[in-house]
């Protein structure tokens, strides 16, 4: 999972996500493991299931966690999310590091952040003006 998978998949349009108003922060319950090859493995607890399967899982003491692997470009963005960061600063960092044009960096980052947020790994907050 990561930016590399998102490359070449999105048409270059100004992203619908208003990046200049966005603050990004990690979900505190997410645990990370950095591998030697720059890959970061994120582990996040999944929501407790209701019903028979949930009861069974709790009884067996199985920890319900889901793992996500971030390839190096995705890990680059993840490593820059410490505390609350603005999405604009992430765009600038991507542009600097990978020599991307602004629109490319914005399009890829918006898709990547939406993907991380939908999996509960980060939270996105709109800054008050």
């Amino acid at each position: 999972m990561g930016l590399a998978q998102l490359i070449s998949r999105f048409r270059l349009n100004p992203p619908a996500l208003a990046l200049h108003q966005l603050q990004v922060s990690r979900n505190q319950v997410v645990e990370e493991l950095v591998k030697d090859d720059g890959i970061v493995v994120l582990s996040c607890p999944v929501a407790v299931q209701s019903g028979a399967f949930g009861k069974l899982a709790r009884k067996m003491g199985r920890e319900d966690r889901k793992e996500y692997e971030l390839e190096p470009i995705g890990a680059f963005v993840w490593n820059r999310i410490s505390g609350k960061v603005s999405a604009t600063s992430l765009v600038s960092a991507l542009q600097r590091e990978f020599k991307l044009s602004r629109i490319e960096a914005e399009t890829s980052l918006a898709a990547f952040l939406q993907m991380l947020a939908s999996r509960g790994l980060i939270s996105l907050k709109v800054k008050k003006k």
Binding site: A4, L6, I7, S8, R9, F10, R11, L12, N13, P14, H20, P72, I73, F98, K99, L100, S101, R102, I103, E104, T107, S108, A111
Partner: protein
């Protein structure tokens, strides 16, 4: 690094964080939109003409549209225009504001509309002057230059753009010319890709068949296909620009050797 947008026979220098996001049409009639990081955007429209149009009449029609639109929205709009060396410059201020110029180009016999629009009162005159001052209609001058988002191609003769693919991290332009089919492209994350494969392997993903020759500029792959009564050659050049962290290529299938891609095509 200058941020040049060269398209359909004209070129313009843009501020660093302005990128083209939308375009349509051909050399005769078309449209391009360039967006800045903020709310400002530049729109360029062009249309060829047989009889030279009166810029004042063209602008009057446009202002009429603006007034009609603003009265529909129940807002007021102020318009003004003035003739300069470049063309008929104008300014309108309503719910949004814009500065533009109507240029009648005798070089290619095309009428150009350049307009920078922004939030009310924020259409900067300095930026407008800078952008407008860099506008150049090359007409049929050769080489035929195409430049956007880090891809810059100079073709030895005019070709017709058939398709453009603008994706995050990947850009491709496809043309046709007399007895030739051409493509050029740019892929971002060059360093990261070169960590997984070498340049020859990457070039082979564009041109799977042919003889691979490595040279100081990059890699060339060539093949010749002989059919009854004709010979079709194909040639692909690919290079890795480490400073810009990008991979660029030009490829052609041709019968006329003028269309064999040369390294100076990829600036």
């Amino acid at each position: 690094m200058p941020n040049t947008f060269a398209w359909q026979g004209f070129s313009i220098s843009l501020p660093q964080d302005w990128d083209p996001t939308n375009f349509s049409g051909d050399r005769a009639t078309g449209f391009a939109r360039i967006s800045s990081a903020g709310a400002t955007q530049l729109q360029i429209r062009w249309q060829s003409f047989k009889k030279e149009p009166e810029p004042e009449a063209v602008l009057a029609r446009y202002f009429k549209q603006i007034h009609r639109e603003s009265s529909r929205r129940k807002t007021s709009v102020e318009t003004e225009s003035k003739q300069t060396d470049i063309g008929l410059e104008y300014h309108w201020n309503g719910a949004e504001s814009a500065r533009g110029c109507v240029i009648v180009s005798k070089v290619s016999r095309r009428l150009f509309f350049l307009e920078i629009s922004s939030a009310k009162g924020k259409a900067s005159l300095a930026t407008f002057r800078e952008v407008l001052g860099s506008f150049l209609d090359n007409g049929d001058a050769l080489p035929d230059c195409w430049s956007l988002l880090g891809l810059s191609v100079s073709l030895p003769k005019q070709a017709i753009l058939k398709r453009s693919v603008l994706l995050s991290g990947k850009l491709q332009l496809h043309w046709t010319a007399h007895r030739a089919v051409l493509s050029a492209g740019r892929t971002s994350f060059g360093r990261e890709l070169m960590g997984k494969m070498n340049l020859s392997e990457w070039a082979k993903s564009i041109a799977p068949k042919g003889t691979v020759v490595e040279c100081e500029h990059g890699v060339r792959i060539e093949s010749i296909r002989r059919a009854i009564g004709r010979t079709v050659s194909s040639s692909t050049i690919a290079k890795f620009d480490e400073n810009a962290n990008k991979l660029v290529y030009a490829t052609a299938m041709f019968r006329d050797p003028i269309w064999r891609p040369e390294w100076d095509w990829l600036n």
